[in-house]
């Protein structure tokens, strides 16, 4: 067997990559070991938690309805993903399938709306949600975010590159427009939509500012809001914060292990956001 030679450039490349990975992983590692340190050791810079304790976790669970908030996060992220997928699929299909006058203009408007920052429309949205009486509800969080420009623009490209002859063929077969979408287009864009769905879910899980406006009660808020409560002007409870953060990362970690291949693919496909 021929022995593979390690060239200097390969070694350099790999060293660099390993270094970068360590930099990326280190904060996570620090988070986990800090969550295991007791109050006295928290500012100790040892990278191994010699006196590991779970007291931070116990405290975090006592202080906050963590499970309840994680469920909130999960429901919120799932609903957001579902709504954003549905709206973006329908919009892209309409834009690609029917080249009516002004469709380019509509597409342009949608693209431009991406440039409007969330902070600008936050207050009017808040007032509206308030008037609808959806304060303190997950729907109040989800409805204003149920259309994602990012999702529409990403899917629009995939829909555009979908072979037109397949759609024509289905039309000749006598299929109805809605079923052309459901039975012909979507089954062939499964992996695209799965990738997008994963990204949208992670985005939804990490949503912070908007849910904070809508909810004041811990029971109604997603986990990201809860984490914040460990940091306040009087005391910063780093240990508990790290414990709660570690817990809040778990679901994403589990999803990642199950869908690892798809997630990497979706990052490659859509770029890291």
């Amino acid at each position: 067997m021929r022995q593979r030679k390690l060239s200097i450039s390969t070694i350099l490349q790999h060293t660099l990559l390993i270094l970068l990975s360590l930099i990326a992983i280190f904060p996570l590692y620090w988070m986990i070991i800090s969550s295991l340190k007791n109050e006295a050791d928290i500012f100790n810079s040892s990278i191994i938690p010699w006196n590991a304790t779970f007291s931070n976790y116990v405290y975090a669970f006592q202080e906050m309805p963590i499970l309840r908030m994680m469920l909130n996060s999960f429901v919120m992220a799932t609903l957001l993903t579902a709504f954003q997928l549905i709206t973006s699929i329908l919009t892209s299909y309409a834009l690609v399938r029917w080249q009516v006058k002004g469709s380019t203009f509509i597409y342009l408007l949608i693209s431009l709306s991406w440039l409007i920052p969330m902070q600008v429309i936050m207050i009017p949205n808040y007032v509206l949600v308030n008037q609808m009486g959806l304060n303190e509800t997950l729907l109040g969080i989800v409805i204003p975010l149920s259309v994602s420009t990012f999702a529409i623009l990403s899917l629009y490209q995939s829909f555009r590159s979908f072979p037109k002859a397949l759609i024509d063929s289905a039309r000749l077969d006598g299929e109805k427009d809605f079923f052309i979408l459901v039975k012909v287009i979507l089954p062939n864009l499964k992996s695209t939509i799965a990738s997008l769905g994963i990204l949208l879910f992670i985005n939804g899980w990490n949503e912070y500012l908007w849910p904070m406006l809508i909810t004041t009660e811990m029971e109604n808020a997603p986990i990201q809001i809860g984490l914040r409560s460990f940091v306040n002007s009087d005391v910063n409870m780093w240990g508990s914060l790290m414990a709660a953060t570690t817990i809040s990362c778990l679901p994403i970690l589990v999803i990642y292990f199950i869908l690892r291949k798809h997630i990497i693919e979706s990052f490659v496909r859509y770029g890291i956001k």
């Binding site: 072979p163 024509d168 063929s169 000749l172």
Partner: protein
Amino acid sequence: MAQITLQNLKKSFGKTNVLKDISLEIKDGSFTILLGPSGCGKSTLLRILAGLEEESSGHIYMDTKEITYNEPKDRDIAMVFQNYALYPHMTVYQNIEYGLKIKKIPKAERKQMVTGVLEMVELTDHAQKRPNQLSGGQRQRVALARAIVKRPGAFFMDEPLSNLDAKLRNHMRQELIELQAQLKTTFLYVTHDQVEAMSMGTHIIILNQGEVMQQGTPKEIYTNPQNLFVAQFIGSPPVNIMKQGDYSIGIRPENIRLVQAFDPAEDTYQIDGELLSTEQLGGETIYRVKTEYGKLNVKTPSRWDSIDKPVQLTFSKEDVLFFGEDGNRIAPQYELLEDLRVAPQLHFA
């Protein structure tokens, strides 16, 4: 079975007129070819007839029924696409069955129809495969099966063989001819390949820049082209065109004889030339000859002996095509050939 009639069909995209006032009859049971260079509007015309695109104005009739405003599914046609357009997520069987399912044909009947068609295209063993597990030729046959199973009044085909390799293309050409003979249904076939057109069509319609240049049987089109475009488009190598003032005269390469010893037969015309290249095609040979009227192609049955450079070309006046200033065919003007006429006495002098 159906005759398709087009009346004053026009189509424009913005300011570009893709189809300019087309009126045609596609005869019932004919194998009609829409032939033309790319961008001539032939595919657009087919798509309009299929209802996949909207015409700007004009009318379409199937037999006596107007179908101009019908949805594609209500036009009693089936279409075969260039890239086959098979549903990638369905098996061969499901692909063929799909249209029948939508038509709500009962399952037992569906099964009978699909199995029958699968047998016909010899794909029974591949029924449960996905399109990506099939070869190009097999995919093409699935696409055909999907069309056949609908038992349409007319088959539309948009360059269905252009993705196949040369050998398979020849084979599929034969199969399509046989299929048409068997089904006796109207075939409307779009291609830019004159060989396909000549070999398969019972009727050829030649389009250029959105206009019908000529229509007729392959023989009519070849032997009796109505204008320069048709004369030059059909035939390989293309017809030789010589400019004589405002007029053009054309002679097909196979109608020129290459001689080295002059034969003073009557009504023979002669051009002196110099042999540039020889192309052996097996059964026949193409010579490229430089003359004072430009470079001319000569096609003869193969002769394997080598030829001296100075050659003489002769042809008969019956084989000459005459075209006027506007490129349209005109009545023979033999006086245009006077320069080329051989005066036997001069030759022997």
